[in-house]
């Protein structure tokens, strides 16, 4: 319209237009009644929409009791999901421990296998194998691998670190 592209109108009305282009449109608006009218109508529309939109949002407040109830339900779901996740992790850890014990028993005998696992747990600063988690598992596996290197050689250590990955 009158040498002003739609893109320029959009940016001008949003006040995102670069300096020189802004000044050019300003100068045009000062002398063109039709474009000024369009600008004013668009600004009035923007303002009316903003006012009505905010009023509408404020007119539908969420009741505190309803909000708290909803949030409590979400929290319960989150806690439930976390408990399931931890349960799965515990299961995976126990499964890996059993596999590692079998592997070490095959390589160095069952007495060594049981003691290697115990020593690795102590070295990881957990009181028992039950306390192993996903977080301390990599450290435990490193220690077990070092112990396996002593008892079963480098090949055994490598097998332990490969086999023990969660």
């Amino acid at each position: 319209m009158h040498g002003i592209t739609e893109q320029e109108w959009m940016d001008y009305l949003d006040q995102r237009l670069a300096g020189s282009a802004y000044a050019r449109i300003d100068a045009h608006l000062a002398s063109c009644h039709k474009c000024r009218e369009f600008q004013e109508r668009m600004l009035r529309t923007e303002k009316s929409l903003a006012v009505a939109g905010v009023e509408l949002k404020r007119g539908q407040p969420l009741d505190d009791e309803q909000l708290n109830l909803g949030l409590a339900k979400i929290l319960a779901r989150i806690l439930d999901a976390e408990a399931k996740q931890q349960g799965l992790s515990r299961h995976a850890i126990q499964e890996r421990l059993n596999n590692l014990e079998e592997l070490l028993a095959l390589m160095c005998g069952s007495w060594t296998a049981v003691n290697a696992l115990r020593l690795a747990a102590e070295g990881t600063l957990v009181s028992s194998l039950d306390k192993l988690t996903q977080d301390n598992w990599p450290s435990f596996l490193n220690r077990l691998s070092s112990i396996a290197a002593v008892f079963c050689g480098e090949a055994g250590a490598k097998l332990v670190s490969e086999y023990g990955r969660l």
Binding site: L13, E37, M42, T45, L49, L56, G59
Partner: protein, 136 residues
Amino acid sequence: MTSEELAQNVLFTVYQRIGDLREKDLFFGWVFKIARNELSQHRRQQLWRSKLAVFEPLSPALAPRLTTEIDSPPGSQFYEWLAHLQPQEREIIMLRFIEELSYEELSEALSLPLGTVKWRIFNAKKKLAQIIAPNE
């Protein structure tokens, strides 16, 4: 599924996928994107169920009530204005002026390029200007 259950699903997904959020500034846009996906999925399921369902004809007393009741607050000028827009335009105008999302947040929420967002809002406002601020 009630609207409350849908809202819960949205918040639960937000919790599960918060690690996927790329830009913290676009958080609200990202939440609306999840909400929009949840709603679309719900609508698809409803549509599928409605295709499977066997409908009984509405009672003569109930039918007129259902066809005249509007799912918006009575007297809301905003909804009257929205009735003049296409569904895509309605959605973007509601998110812009009720939820007050920025262009960048709208781009994230609607998975649209920034230019398309600006263009769609500008065109919708031009249409609404005919109603809200007509030529004098």
